[in-house]
Symmetry: C2
Subunit: 138 residues, 2 copies
């Protein structure tokens, strides 16, 4: 079937993102996490006492939508909340959260390596800078 879309990098970009996201999601589900969960664990681990708002800004997730995400992580015993002042709360990983973060990290590192390995060597090191140019400077 003739597919006029295949010429377009933008189309391939979306398809590639979907395909890789699906694969990573499948692997992360082995440890009971979604991609957002893993992102949050990594970010909280690297930035103890971050606020929900700051996380939302970094990941482009609206404040309101952070609530159920963090609630699930809290209910799962992976994160704790420290009141920073009267209204802000700092988020930290629990012991379990840290363990899970390390599992997620291992899965992600491995996944990224395998993903990159699929890209022909001549193109490989161009991928990250090219992608970054597409969204870092809006």
């Amino acid at each position: 079937m003739d597919d006029p879309l295949r010429r377009y990098p933008g189309y391939s970009l979306r398809r590639a993102a979907n395909a890789t996201a699906a694969e990573l999601a499948a692997r992360l589900s082995d440890i009971g996490l979604k991609q957002v969960d893993a992102s949050l664990l990594l970010l909280i681990g690297a930035n103890p006492d971050v606020t929900a708002s700051a996380l939302g800004r970094e990941l482009d997730i609206q404040r309101a939508n952070m609530v159920p995400l963090l609630k699930r992580l809290e209910d799962a015993g992976l994160i704790d909340r420290n009141p920073l002042d009267g209204k802000s709360q700092g988020l930290v990983l629990t012991r379990d959260g840290e363990a899970r973060r390390e599992q997620a990290l291992a899965i992600i590192e491995r996944f990224e390596a395998e993903m990159l390995a699929r890209v022909p060597a001549e193109h490989r090191h161009h991928l990250l800078p090219a992608l970054d140019a597409l969204w870092r400077n809006p």
Copy 2:
């Protein structure tokens, strides 16, 4: 804020895809189309009498989910259905559908060009082949 995710091509891939998808969606909304609509118009235009099932396979959309998509295009007077045999129906663009397809094509071509222009020249021609390697051969 320290963001451990920025090292990962897979993460940049998803962010770049989201950012570009949002921008293209905004432009296509000027002519009352979503991305899927535009994809369908382009595909039907290039493959007259294609079936809904074939479109779904090409775009990785389940048969069942094609129904409301095609119904909207039909209700908008952009496509017609030709009974091919007792159960299959061939899809074609109407006059209006062809006009809309050309508008969509112009928007997409322009968008793709601008998108590519944002990528530094050294990386530019590596983008499409690198992305294709990520999803063409699963």
